[in-house]
Amino acid sequence: MKQLTLISGKGGTGKTTIAAAFASLAENAVIADCDVDAADMHLILNPEIIETIDFYGLKEAYIDSSLCIQCGLCKENCRFDAITDDIKVDSFECEGCGVCAHICPEGAITMVERKAGEAYLSETRFGPMAHAKLSVGEEASGKLVALVRENSRDLAERYGKDLIIIDGPPGTGCSLIASITGVDMVAVVTEPSVSGIHDLERVLGVAGHFNIPAVVCINKYDINEENTRIIEDYCRDNGIDVVGKLPLSRIPTEAMIQEKTVMEYSGNELPDKFSEKLKDMWGSVMRSLN
């Protein structure tokens, strides 16, 4: 079984649009949406949820005020400023380390489990899908990503699928790292803007750090063809394949409004080069992956 993650560094370059198109082109794949704090894939794939799993993130300190003597030791020892001046826990700051509970001389503090989201196992018109929703204001998105990854592998085994297509989050931090560890390849979706180039280089750095092979897709390549050449040169110099270039087009937005993948939308109503190019890109990605 192979795993492929679409990443970008910079947000809004077209990861989800391309991942959804790949999902419709793949013949035997599981789809995983690992952008758990701003998940959008379900808006196109309309998954029917088969199973819901509660997600418990980090524990959180709970202070029993009837036992608390306001000594302030918890506040003094908390490195995350999570205890307020009036000795209350600030949920947004608490990282669940447990130092306060250990240090409290009155045993007034316990660490409690808290539901921080839900993970879903679903069915879509293109096959099984693993996805999730982080609760409002919760941390531990990396842990939830890990749960979605685990669920996607279970689905692949259960249904005999040989590929997992993972839609990753933007950035280079914990959820991104959780989305790419142990995958066979990442496909970086970039755009020829100075921000796109800068973020491409950083995210390729992360992939390199974990020894994960990478290919690059250039989206909206015609908004600045000079920058597109800079990306192509950079990739050539670093031995990274550019697997395809897509033009700026209204098709992704129009397809999204109709809750369709680009392949379904243009395939039915508007035969065009955009979907052909995406198909070619998919072919190149699969050749690189295998």
Partner: protein, 284 residues
């Protein structure tokens, strides 16, 4: 006054709004809190100097004193230590620096040493006071870098904060202590969906906010209809314009080439200030 520019969905134009907004105001400070992918300076082109390193305190084991009892690894919630029969393994990137291991160690065998996970850089000699944080490649402590960065805000002045995408911890760390939050979105199904997630978080935090609709002539009317229904002020609309897109791709702030927009951003600031003051009055 601290104003955050945030979005939920990535790529909606946060950095564009933050940079052009800050340039249009006199005496603004700009803070790039998207420390995983800081981009503001690509548009400013300032010479930045290192202000400070961001360090996490990691445990160091004194093997003379350690009797491999395992209390530290038992305590650690982040799996950053593993105790073997005759060794202790430390996984530095997993350590949050809570100090719990050194507190629970019965033999005083654990001390702590700072490990660099990022850097704060800044410039105070250019047109704007500008600071950015940068998380090192392969590191996880995004929120810590954002917190250290925000310590440099002069709260007597105007501070514009460019927040990271998403709605999780790094987003919260960036917007938690601001006076007003501007949510930048686009009127596509993805933009609309992620806007609603961001609104949920901002309301939970109890922060006043309004919306800027970018590329307002692309997509549908769902965002504006929603804002009217929810009583959320639409502060500004920026159309999709090939010229703005071209300038963006080259790293040029569009207010520098299209000065009429400078006035619009100044008006945006006036509007935000009066909304903020009105909000404060109505709370009292």
């Amino acid at each position: 006054m601290k104003i955050a520019i945030a979005s939920g969905k990535g790529g909606t134009g946060k950095t564009t709004v933050a940079v052009n907004f800050a340039i249009s105001l006199k005496d603004a400070q700009l803070f790039d809190c998207d420390v995983e992918e800081p981009n503001c300076n690509l548009f400013l082109g300032y010479d930045l100097e290192k202000v400070e390193d961001v360090n996490v305190l990691n445990p160091v084991i004194d093997k003379e004193k350690c009797d491999f009892c395992g209390k530290c690894s038992e305590f650690c919630q982040f799996n950053a230590l593993a105790v073997l029969p005759e060794d202790v393994m430390i996984f530095p990137t997993l350590c949050h620096g809570c100090g719990g291991c050194s507190i629970v160690c019965p033999n005083e065998a654990i001390s702590e040493v700072g490990r660099k996970v990022g850097v704060i850089e800044g410039s105070v000699n250019e047109g704007l006071v500008f600071y950015q944080g940068m998380l090192n490649i392969g590191e996880l402590m995004t929120s810590l870098v954002i917190k250290v960065l925000q310590d440099h805000i002069d709260t007597n002045g105007i501070a514009i904060i460019d927040a990271p995408p998403g709605t999780a911890c790094s987003f919260i760390a960036s917007v938690k202590n601001v006076d007003y939050c501007i949510l930048v979105t686009e009127s596509t199904p993805f933009g609309f969906h992620d806007l609603k997630l961001a609104v949920d978080v901002i309301r939970t935090l109890g922060i006043q906010f309004g919306v800027v609709i970018n590329r307002c002539n692309i997509g549908d009317n769902s965002v504006e209809d929603y804002c009217i229904e929810e009583g959320i002020p639409v502060l500004m609309k920026i159309p999709y314009d090939r010229e703005i897109a071209r300038l963006y791709s080259q790293g040029i702030p569009f207010v520098n080439e299209m000065p009429e927009w400078k006035e619009r951003f100044v008006k945006l600031f006036r509007d935000v200030t009066s909304l903020y003051e009105m909000g404060n009055c109505s709370e009292q």
